[in-house]
């Protein structure tokens, strides 16, 4: 229960959500095509109608697609910036963090480019804290090297929860979250349930004691099984 309380505060959804200033966070998806990192970052943003600055480099766009407005939770306007190089992405993000009118700055960088070193992340983090604008860096196919990001997450999709009406269909998404480095709270690992309708993430400690029910998640066993 202790971990759960901490994480509710971390998620900005608890009883005292304002205690933490917005800062730079990094997410490392398990596989490049995994869209859970995007949904997780979006679910953590403050609930405003201000626009989101979304900066993508070319490889991220090619390998992981672009955000689809109809599928994004909420109705925030999005300003897309399509760039080719990682250094340009960092430049645009840094400029965006000077603007307090934004709800958030989200950047996607593919791999481990030279430009994305400790200094660059430190600049982003300090800018984000100065402007109090949340900044999320989604890093695909990257190794978690030295970085000044205040929170660093690893995320992977898990088989979804059972669908309420259709046992054959995937239900609400579930992710395995791993906060492997944090300056502000204790690192830990959780299984997250994402409720798309209310754009809310519920965290629960992973049940390592016993295995999941074998029928859970794969209820509709198919011929190929």
């Amino acid at each position: 229960m202790g971990a759960l309380r901490v994480n509710k505060r971390l998620a900005g959804q608890g009883d005292t959500p304002v205690s933490m200033p917005h800062t730079l966070s990094e997410v490392f998806p398990n596989t490049p095509a995994d869209a859970s990192a995007v949904a997780f970052a979006l679910s953590r943003l403050p609930r405003t109608t201000a626009p989101v600055l979304w900066v993508q480099d070319r490889l991220s766009r090619k390998e992981a697609g672009r955000p689809m407005l109809a599928g994004l939770p909420g109705s925030r306007p999005v300003i897309m910036v399509d760039l080719s190089r990682a250094s340009d992405v960092l430049w645009a993000m840094e400029d965006g963090l000077r603007c307090r009118g934004l709800a958030a700055v989200i950047g996607e960088v593919w791999g481990d480019p030279q430009a994305l070193d400790f200094t660059a992340t430190k600049r982003l983090a300090m800018r984000a804290e100065a402007a109090d604008v949340p900044c999320w860096l989604i890093r695909r196919a990257a190794s978690p090297d030295l970085s000044a990001a205040r929170d660093r997450w690893r995320i992977a999709s898990l088989p979804s929860a059972p669908h309420a009406h259709d046992p054959q269909a995937p239900g609400a998404p579930r992710w395995s979250l791993d906060l492997f480095r944090s300056r502000r709270t204790q690192p830990g690992q959780w299984v997250a349930h994402y409720d798309r309708a209310s754009d809310r993430v519920d965290l629960a400690a992973p049940s390592r004691d016993r295995a999941l029910d074998p029928r859970d998640g794969t209820a509709g066993q198919r011929a190929a099984g």
Binding site: T31, A33, D34, A35, S36, V38, A39, F40, P51, L53, R61, K62, A64, G65, R66, P67, M68, L69, A70, G71, L72, P77, V78, I79, M80, V81, D82, L83, D88, W91, A92, D95, G96, R98, C99, R100, G101, L102, A131, A156, S157, L158, P159, S160, H163, D166, Q168, A169, P170, P173, R174, Y194, R196, G217, T218, A219, G220, R222, A223, A224
Partner: protein, 488 residues
């Protein structure tokens, strides 16, 4: 306007038409058409009966008006006080400027020459009042001139149509037997006053007559040309880098904009090289601004593109796209915040990466995923189209759907196993299909329909998979499978 300077031959009857209540009516006719009896205001079908070889083109009233507005400014070469008169006239107040061209007669010849060089035929007249000039130009002799006290004699024989009255009043005057302006002048004023005492200006021949005779003032209010806003730096000796001079230039330009209460959308930096060549750099902003620091920052990476040659000794900064911009107070406490505004952020990003890199997706009413979203300029006004989202859509969408190789097909539903990006995915659960038919009004013929499935593989990856077409739908071979997006 594409006809300008390219008139049709004189022996072909050509008319311009506009939409009337009962089909197109004649807007204007050329000389040949007028000779065979075509007149403005009649219906095109009637005139076709008179003249079967009539050629009809549609009139562009708004374009004509815009061209006339440009001509108003062009006519400032003869006098500083010009104005557009209705849809087909110009009024030039040439008082005191005719002697520069050698008198009024010589000035009229000069004007006619210059206008004909532009491809325009003109009817010109000089008169002491607006009304007299209007009547003489339309109904008087060629290059008519009228002295200050000759109006009675010169205008007397002209028809009453020359009094700028509406059609009903002209008809009334004709029925009263008053067919010329002179006849109206000769009628005792009292009897006409009794009849037209309550009529407005356009239906009142007495007031129009007073305007013609100069007894009723009709001032010419000239259109003010927008001042050119430009800052320049003259240098003592040629330099190669304009950067040190930019802050002062921006400061100077913004001062000028501030005095007139305006902001600019575009800036042109021009350098004049010592060898006579000119090089320039343009930047644009997404909203009108007069913030010198912001304008300066837009040039940050662009001045490198100037080719200095052997150096330049004159730099000008010219503002265009000028719009009114009121002063706003940003906070009540005094002081200033150094935060970047959203418009400035978009400007900086567009200036560095190009306007096409900074976009904003908006929803469009279409079921085809590629067309459900459109990219518009980041700060453009959006048309609020009522787009109702009924089906679940993925968070990510691939620009180009990626084909998968089916390993284990099943008769209905998605394949049980498939290979995507060189990895085998085993489908454990799926939802669907959602059938999206091609939009026949946009798509090419033989575009196949799509059946979308949300599938989940053994690792929990949720993909948006679709089958293009059906078995034996007559639009190609076996249907193929594609991945189009990823769910959270």
């Amino acid at each position: 306007m594409e006809r300008q300077g390219n008139a049709p031959p004189d022996d072909v009857p050509v008319v311009l038409a506009r939409e009337g209540h009962h089909g197109p009516v004649i807007h204007a006719a050329n000389r040949c058409a007028r000779l065979v009896g075509v007149h403005a205001g009649s219906r095109v079908v009637d005139m076709r009966a008179i003249c079967p070889e009539l050629q009809v083109a549609y009139a562009d009233a708004a374009g004509d008006r815009a061209a006339l507005d440009r001509l108003v400014l062009w006519a400032r070469r003869w006098c500083p006080w010009t104005v557009r008169d209705g849809d087909d006239g110009l009024i030039l107040d040439t008082t005191g400027s005719d002697h520069l061209f050698g008198g009024e007669a010589a000035m009229l010849v000069e004007m006619e020459t210059q206008l004909s060089l532009l491809g325009l035929s003109a009817r010109l007249a000089v008169a002491p009042t607006w009304g007299a000039a209007w009547a003489l130009a339309r109904f008087g002799p060629v290059r008519a001139m009228c002295g200050p006290d000759e109006a009675y004699f010169k205008l007397g024989p002209l028809p009453v149509t020359g009094l700028r009255l509406d059609d009903a009043t002209v008809l009334l005057l004709r029925r009263l037997g008053l067919k010329t302006i002179g006849a109206v002048m000769d009628v005792p004023r009292l009897s006409l006053t009794r009849r037209f005492v309550k009529a407005g200006l356009h239906a009142n021949p007495l007031m129009r007559l007073d305007q013609v005779m100069g007894k009723l003032a009709e001032p010419v209010s000239s259109l003010e040309a927008a001042p050119i806003i430009r800052a320049r730096a003259r240098l003592a000796e040629p330099v190669f880098d304009p950067t040190p001079h930019l802050p002062d230039l921006c400061e100077d330009l913004c001062d000028q904009l501030k005095q007139t209460g305006q902001g600019c959308r575009r800036l042109h930096l021009t350098v004049y090289k010592t060898d006579g060549d000119v090089s320039h750099v343009d930047v644009a902003t997404s909203a009108p601004t007069r913030d010198p620091a912001h304008l300066h920052s837009l040039f940050r990476d662009k001045v490198d593109r100037i080719n200095p040659g052997f150096g330049f000794d004159l730099i000008t900064l010219h503002a265009s796209g000028i719009e009114a911009l009121a002063q706003t107070q940003s906070n009540l406490e005094g002081g200033s915040d150094d935060a970047l505004h959203l418009t400035q952020l978009v400007d900086r990003l567009s200036a560095k990466f190009g306007a096409r890199a900074v976009t904003r997706p908006v929803l469009r009413p279409s079921h085809v995923p590629e067309r459900a979203e459109a990219q518009i300029a980041a700060l453009a006004d959006t048309r609020d189209e009522a787009v109702v989202l009924t089906k679940e859509r993925p968070v990510r969408l691939f620009d180009h759907p990626e084909e998968v190789r089916v390993l284990y097909a099943v008769p209905e539903g998605p394949p049980a196993q498939f290979v995507w990006r060189r990895q085998t995915h085993r489908v454990t659960r799926y939802a669907g299909p959602e059938r999206i038919a091609p939009e026949w009004w946009k798509d090419r013929p033989n575009t196949r329909l799509r059946d979308y499935f949300k599938v989940e593989n053994q690792a929990g990856l949720r993909l948006w998979l679709y089958r293009e077409g059906l078995h034996e739908d007559g639009r190609g071979g076996d249907p193929r499978w594609f991945v189009h997006g990823c769910f959270a």
